[in-house]
Assembly symmetry: D2
Homo-oligomer: 349 residues x 4
């Protein structure tokens, strides 16, 4: 629809008056706001371990742990520079902790996960329980739990951090509190929670957290063995192959309230089907090599590489090699599901 | 901690190299990201009906409904200019529909509420059911429901729109679809859902929506009468006086999955206690006059005024007059609660 | 399979030895225990108001209320004589209360419902709230709530009592406690709970009971009007016609945890389809006349008649008349559903 | 209250007339029906393995498996003779299966558990998955799952069966169906479900049963190790010592919808506190020797002994020996909890 010059001028004057009263016309932005399908601000991206690993060593040299609180390189989405965000809801970073160092104890309302990439001898302490950190282990420090990290080994340890920081910011719900000491004293035996809650049994004489999994550590050893056993008898999902969710054994849901995490096995020579869904996903390669195709672009990944797939972007997995390939991933889908905002569909072609 | 010039230069060079690889140091922004308490981007604000009402008449004159899809003045938070947002999660606007006009049928994943401010003879149609719009009525058009509006009266009708648009954008989960016709044909009698679901009864022969209230319209007549009856025997909440939630009768929760809405009665001479909570709130005055104090600033409101209180801002209500004062409000608290992010505390002094 | 005399004798001796050690062979009773479909102990039955009403007057004359605690004629299933049971889980009785009488206050873990059949001026008080009793009203006194009844009218009042007593006995979970006085003093206005919880609204400043509906009384006036409105536009269920559940507005479930209750409208000339389901049902006629066919036997009912349909018995409804017919009913289905024991199927022929 | 002879005679005549109309006075039985605390029909009892084991061998000799469907000695409560019930809701029996025998495949709505007491080489197949049966293993065959048993070893195998049969009968909800063949063919690897669901992980590509645990077998090896670890750092419950529930990892509830089962460790020299609760409990001793005191009577138990504690009976545990004592138990508490009927209290003295 066209307007006369006069009416256009009248409108412009009107719009300026509106702005001075802190109101704005909806009709000029309606189509940008209400798009037929999601238009996320984040774009797909691939970070290579080969590139990042040396940068971590530099950080180790340049920045003392006492100054840094956490020595992390944040993986920033190219379209979200300066926002400390890999998507509009998720944060990811690579953390390095030197031999003998301690990353001091604190807590915050943001949920955090750790996926161990390199090194031996570190631990994460959560509410008084130390979880040993072995390569491939998945460890959670959920909302408002005290946590610190230590490295009792003789070499640096590196892991992937995943948090819901941008979502917690958008919800204006971030609280943070330092612990009164640098480290939490151990209150229970190491890995205690796995024996209490992680075997299909539960103690009757104590209550469990309601919001998140009572299990602190999900060992790679067990998750990988489960994948291998399942792979022997099933093809799993057409989109994801053999995929296991890290589960909260008290409700069958995700280990943390806002973040769902998975370990996934792509069989040798697998060429899976393309799909898309709401919710964004961060992948971290664990074993083998594979190809993640997002929006028509191929990312050839190797162990410890990180990739991000924004909401609704079509993507598919391939493993052209003769060895199985294993991916860790986490998503913000739990932020969408309670509100009916999760959708998924196959993408043909 | 201070650094030598040399080390500062070395770090700067390092940070620039990081940026070129789409990574960033966490330690330089840690304290801004993880604040002791929420630091919302939105600020408190007050929009006066006396100011906005004439601007709506101008919109009616300047912008044909066919062009506008919805003729709405968006209430933009002064700190979120250009974002079509009253807080980082909520959208509010004033919509005007002229006599005989139709606001065409569509649906979207954003949830929307309507609170009627002025006029007679309009309706909102939701999935084939028309709900008449009387002053003070609360009407919902939840996630992905078809809806259109019409004005069969002889004068304009104005209402407040409340949506979760900024949240749905942050979650990258917006879908939109126009209906194949301008208006939905009526499929059931007017106000049918109130007789099916709104009387403490439910039909056994049909299933209800799982995510949101099956009731389309909550009449002001009934909500106000309930308030008046409760006010005769109780003081209600120390912070909010007599307050009723618009409830989903199938789960006792909010009427829509992401937005909770309330009608609240401040007794004559009431001077309530200050509190703060996570989640942001939009108030719309209905009857009487009162004072909303936010972060130490007093907003003296009159009917149809709109105010916003950001997350964690201390606020309190007063009604210095001899008549009861009534406020409508809506919040994003349902977006916080499932994740353990809702907190509330009294603020002394 | 036949056995030699010798082996039969050996077995008999063995069985007797078993009995002396409080053990018994499973194999001799296996087929009686594990039947292909349910074999309830209860049988279908029909109690006529015309027969029972005079017996109630006799009770009024013969038994002082002080002696009786409750003046009730228990409807005993012909196969469950002496068990105070209409089925293996449900109890039903007709209660009469004379003008000016009080049925004293007590509480018990058994859930109880009242459906008013005759008279004016009585009330049921539940946890301090009096609910007026009009013909057709449905009133609940759920698990462990204090309750008493009074008749402030000038003539006797009669209602149907429905309880889960036999189930509570089988579960060995009956507790009973007399109130310290004969009557509870009124703590809130009459019918208060309907204004607090029964209009699609809920007070934000008080918590509700978790287990049962916060509404004490569901007026017949409203339930009947809802039925009539629905009947104008829908046929409802093929088995039950237009049927409304008395709902707990906090969870969309039954008003009481163990008993589900309904009001049902059979349109003029309706001849519905036969079905069967687990769970037993007690019907009480309210308006019109109709035919309930159970296991091939026709029960022609008139207002205030009571009928019972045991679990899994095929049954169907007919209304051969030109006026609508209305039935109240209650079932023990909530005792079955949480355990996956509820089944329903159409019965052809 | 006394009555004149005349009135007594009039009442008797009235009561007889009532009976002929299938009604009965409530007031004559009110106090028996509504007791201050539960009066279960079942009584406490103790069955000794030393007595029962030889009787099982006789059954093995006397009754061919083909004739018996299941070769079980039912533990009948002394007060419930002829009812195949250990309490008014629970059934317990000892099952023996000879070397090479098969207990044929069927399914029923009653839930069943197996706790292995003696022997090697048997399996329980549930919906196509074989679970090996080792001493102390807990195995479930929940509502309407196909199941059969086989003994591939060289000696008889004995286990405890626990079912909710009396409850399912009272609810008139028993269905039974034989499998089309004697045995189910294996559909998945042995113990498959433990790798799929029992490690804090879940496959994303398949749905789980909603009502019961997807884990078929809970090995004694793991449960005992968990108990031993917990016992090293905690005293557990004052009533039950270190006690683990066999959990449904999809909802944190009991493994089966109607029956909750536990393994419990009484430390050396433990003398626990007396308590009582609604719900009845069947105990089966596993290791060590101990004393269960019920209603003031001491039962001195040894491995494989079975004891029953009816609802609300005060009971306490002692282990006067220097070795830990271990008890398996199951209860009907899940039948009570959804209805607010579960109560528990300490009993002093």
């Amino acid at each position: 629809m066209t307007h006369s010059t006069e009416s256009t001028q009248e409108r412009e004057a009107y719009y300026q008056r509106l702005a001075s009263h802190d109101v704005a016309p909806l009709w000029t932005v309606f189509r940008q706001l209400l798009t037929p399908t999601p238009k996320p601000r984040a774009v797909p991206h691939h970070w290579r371990w080969a590139t990042l690993r040396p940068l971590l060593d530099e950080a180790l040299r340049l920045v003392p742990i006492e100054e840094a609180e956490r020595r992390v390189l944040v993986l920033e989405n190219p379209r979200l520079k300066g926002e400390s965000a890999i998507t509009s809801t998720l944060y990811a970073g690579l953390q390095i902790i030197g031999a003998g160092e301690t990353a001091r104890a604190h807590r915050h309302t943001a949920n955090a996960l750790r996926f161990v990439l390199e090194g031996e001898g570190a631990f994460t302490a959560v509410n008084g329980e130390r979880a040993p950190m072995q390569r491939g282990d998945f460890i959670i420090t959920p909302v408002w739990t005290w946590h610190d990290h230590g490295n009792q080994g003789s070499a640096p340890v590196v892991w992937l951090d995943g948090l819901d920081l941008p979502a917690a910011q958008a919800l204006a719900a971030i609280f943070f509190e330092p612990f009164q000491e640098v480290q939490q004293p151990p209150a229970v035996p190491e890995d205690d929670s796995r024996w209490r809650w992680g075997q299909g049994l539960r103690p009757t004489f104590e209550s469990a957290p309601g919001l998140y999994s009572p299990i602190r550590r999900y060992p790679y050893l067990i998750a990988r063995e489960s994948l291998a056993r399942l792979a022997a008898t099933t093809k799993g999902s057409p989109y994801d192959g053999i995929m296991l969710q890290y589960m909260n054994p008290l409700n069958g849901g995700p280990a943390m309230p806002t973040i769902d995490a998975f370990l996934q096995w792509l069989p040798p020579r697998a060429s899976l089907t393309s799909h898309r869904h709401t919710g964004s996903t961060v992948y971290c390669a664990v074993e083998g090599r594979g190809i993640l195709e997002v929006d028509g672009i191929e990312y050839q990944w190797e162990p410890n590489d990180v990739m991000v797939v924004p909401s609704w972007a079509p993507h598919r997995h391939r493993n052209p090699h003769s060895e199985p390939a294993i991916l860790f991933s986490f998503t913000d889908a739990p932020l969408l599901r309670p509100f009916g905002l999760y959708r998924e569909e196959e993408v043909s072609g």
